[in-house]
Assembly symmetry: C2
Homo-oligomer: 494 residues x 2
């Protein structure tokens, strides 16, 4: 599909289109037809990704030409991609997100006319802004023993700041009033707590918005009790994954949910749903989600009027309920993708009872590729945590480690099992797995500012002694930055 | 409150009662009155925990006498506890859970008569079985740099097996038909994947139940789209935290939600709601949640008939809507805690239209305190991951680390930033934080079976060389158990 034959004088924006797998090509074609009929100022550049690419042997599922096309255009509209079982390990969707550092996942959740749910009539209209690249999604996992698995949950101050600023920028662009930060800061004080602290630090710059923090489990609860209270929710990756799908369910489900993925170098717009292989190729798919993603894309390139025309045509089509696809119709009354598409096109120029929101350009702060490394004023090494494998009971293990620490610059502070102190005994009835964390504190903290090599000899000496008797698999330095402990204490430590 | 004056011949079971904070004492008193009126075979032993205890300076919030009482009785009924800001770091609730290793959090979610929600009439009746002590709740957190926070997500095979067996045991005890395991195994293959694998391994022993696995975000979605499809859901700690509060919202909210926390040595029954300080002491609180928890307790001690009598009295009270507390009444028509309690007592012996489910004793498998350490047949050290802090760009850093590895038994495999490979470059536009993972592979794997000291010298030599130039803070051994890599690859690694 090239430039419109009746080329108008408007400059067209090039967008990479990924028709993807399953129903992907059908909903892509429908979306393109509607956008063409609406004279959307877009020129498509078709590109491959997904199942066929995996099957050709490329384990990322995304060929170089596709990456180059998105790099060049900075914009992509993407249908669902499959990662076929047995080909490559990582999903093509995650590859695209990480390759272009698309850190902000924007998930609008708005009650649509004609789409009846248990929450209809309550005027749900919120956006969930999900951090899209950090957290447990870093995928850094190590089996610590044959039975104990570990995943690193990483959250960073610049990562939190980026997504929080994106949430305020979005609130400004959509004339929203209220930004809620949802975390599990009460339990994970350093990681989830970091997002809360950054929110509280950055928030005052955006004092025109009502701001609050909510614990993520309460947020999930409130989303089903009183969803209309939310306007913009900003949250970390895993939390956002769960609540964005929850919230989509409140207004009709993933089948009609669009999303955008924004970064400094590119923006990708997509349907949230999967490739629905069971109805692929039958002309039955509902293109609403991808069309809604395309409307987000139009607004992203400041084509606000065309976006509103298409959105109102979609709204009135849904509201009137004529020629809807099977998923939105009473049984036996659904039409095919083509008839629905024709209906939306026929409705171009008409307005629904639900006005489009007022939008202006979403301006994301630009970030340097390399974040400044911040050296604290003072930095001390105060100890190390050594994670080791043992079938011993905690008393025997603790005493043995105490002995090992003798004649070293360290003393054993305690031993914990899955975060609960088991030596010295607290009287708790902890079930022991074969993975212990032994915390050794330096009798005398060692300043680290002068040279990172400081403390090496001491650590090495202790670890050698431990390794002679126990199988360790993981070491963490315990540091103090600017006089403040940069680590948490285990449960039960006095 | 001692043994009933009209002591009948039934042997009474001693239960530790924690009246707790805020509205806690009021709902506890109401619950005790109803149970006494129903001749429940319970003798209460009152114990302290919560805000007052923290304020006396005990940083756990739970005095020794309380721990001893629960240890002795093995049973507790607990009202909400507060962790006042500024006293102690960890919550008293978490302390109790971890001290007694109460690994199974049982959250029944059932539509109640008279409690109207958007989902009323759909017959929601499920139980969420949440793992209660592992996962990110281990609270093991380390600042890796001044801007990068890390939390360890730990999941263990015995931990997963315990909770999965508990879910099947519960399904059997409540004559349920269908157990769904909800994880994020598609992203976290080693940790969340472990729970899925254990479910698939243990499941066949319980072939009388329908069994399936669902991705947690889809589970949250389905819970608001079609909650009536679920019967028993078993899931990991963080996932369970979110979806159990979500699910409670579907049937009327946390205000009326009970839960139990089960372990090998004790069981604790509680209301899920908080201490509601704003209405504390006013005689307005709704005791339904704690009363429902007490009903669970009665069934736990096999007092099935009394449990049903109390449950039916509660159901009919709610159904008839006479003398309900303010939270369940039209504005201005609520009564106080005492009047509601009197009404439930007056209804003892009557039955509602909603039958109680059929229950039998929930039999949990007993576990040894110390799990067997499983040594793989072969164990090799194949490399190490060194996490280090640097303000360098990835090319410069990568080349420098490659140089360091020269003349060591290792070669640099690659460098990643938050799980995405940045050296050798993949062309991706990764935003760099000052925390890198350098993966060094041994040119020749080292067998570890013979002695855990094997490889020590090699690691020590490499780490010394790295430490001379870079500030590392975290090391992970890369092992191969029985010929299988015990670690995941970063995104982008070819």
């Amino acid at each position: 599909m090239d430039a419109n034959a009746d080329a108008d004088t408007v400059t067209k924006t090039k967008v990479t289109a990924l028709p993807g797998d399953g129903i992907g090509p059908e909903v892509m074609q429908a979306t393109m037809r509607i956008l063409e009929a609406a004279n959307a100022p877009i020129e498509w550049e078709m590109a491959e990704a997904g199942a066929e690419v995996f099957k050709k042997g490329l384990i990322t599922g995304v060929p170089r030409e596709t990456l180059d096309s998105i790099s060049r255009n900075g914009l992509a509209l993407k249908s669902p991609l499959e990662t076929p079982v047995g080909f490559g390990g990582k999903s093509a969707n995650v590859t695209l997100r990480k390759h272009f550092e698309l850190y902000a996942n924007i998930r609008p959740v708005r009650e649509l006319p004609g789409v009846t749910t248990p929450f209809s009539g309550r005027g749900i209209d919120m956006v969930i802004v999900r951090e899209n690249v950090e957290d447990v999604y870093a995928g850094i996992e190590h089996m610590q023993t044959t039975t104990v698995a570990q995943c690193l949950k990483l959250m960073t101050a610049p990562g939190c700041e980026r997504i929080i600023r994106a949430a305020f920028a979005l609130a400004a662009a959509e004339e929203r009033k209220h930004v809620t930060c949802a975390t599990k800061a009460n339990i994970m004080k350093l990681t989830e707590g970091l997002m809360k602290r950054v929110f509280e630090k950055v928030g005052p710059e955006f004092s025109e918005f009502k701001q609050d923090h909510i614990i993520i489990d309460n947020c999930a609860h409130q989303l089903v009790i009183a969803p209309e209270q939310f306007d913009v929710i900003v949250t970390s990756n895993m939390n956002g994954d769960i609540i964005s799908d929850l919230a989509a369910g409140l207004v009709g489900g993933l089948g009609i949910a669009p999303s955008s993925n924004l970064g400094d170098h590119a923006a990708m717009f997509e349907a949230v749903h999967g490739s629905a292989p069971q109805i692929a190729g039958k002309g039955l798919a509902n293109p609403t989600a991808l069309l809604s993603a395309a409307i987000m894309l139009l607004r992203h390139i400041s084509a606000f009027e065309v976006a509103e025309t298409v959105e109102q045509a979609l709204f009135i089509t849904l509201a009137e309920g004529k020629n809807l696809t099977g998923d939105l119709s009473p049984k036996g009354h659904g039409v095919g993708t083509a008839a629905f598409t024709d209906q939306v096109i026929a409705n171009l120029g008409r307005s629904s009872n639900l006005p489009s929101r007022v939008y202006s350009k979403l301006e994301l702060k630009a970030w340097p590729e390399l974040t400044a490394h911040t050296e604290p004023d003072t930095r001390e090494l105060v100890g190390i945590d050594v994670f080791l494998e043992s079938g011993l009971g905690s008393e025997e293990l603790g005493r043995s480690l105490e002995e090992i620490a003798q004649d070293t610059p360290f003393r054993l502070n305690g031993v914990s099992n899955r975060g609960v102190q088991v030596y010295p005994a607290t009287g708790g009835q902890t079930f022991l797995v074969d993975h212990f964390a032994a915390r050794f504190m330096l009798k005398q903290p060692i300043p680290l500012n002068a040279s990172s090599a400081n403390g090496q000899a001491e650590i090495s000496y202790l670890v050698q002694r431990i390794g002679a008797k126990f199988a360790w698999m993981h070491i963490e330095k315990l540091q103090r930055f600017d006089g403040k402990d940069a680590f948490e204490r285990p449960q039960g430590e006095g």
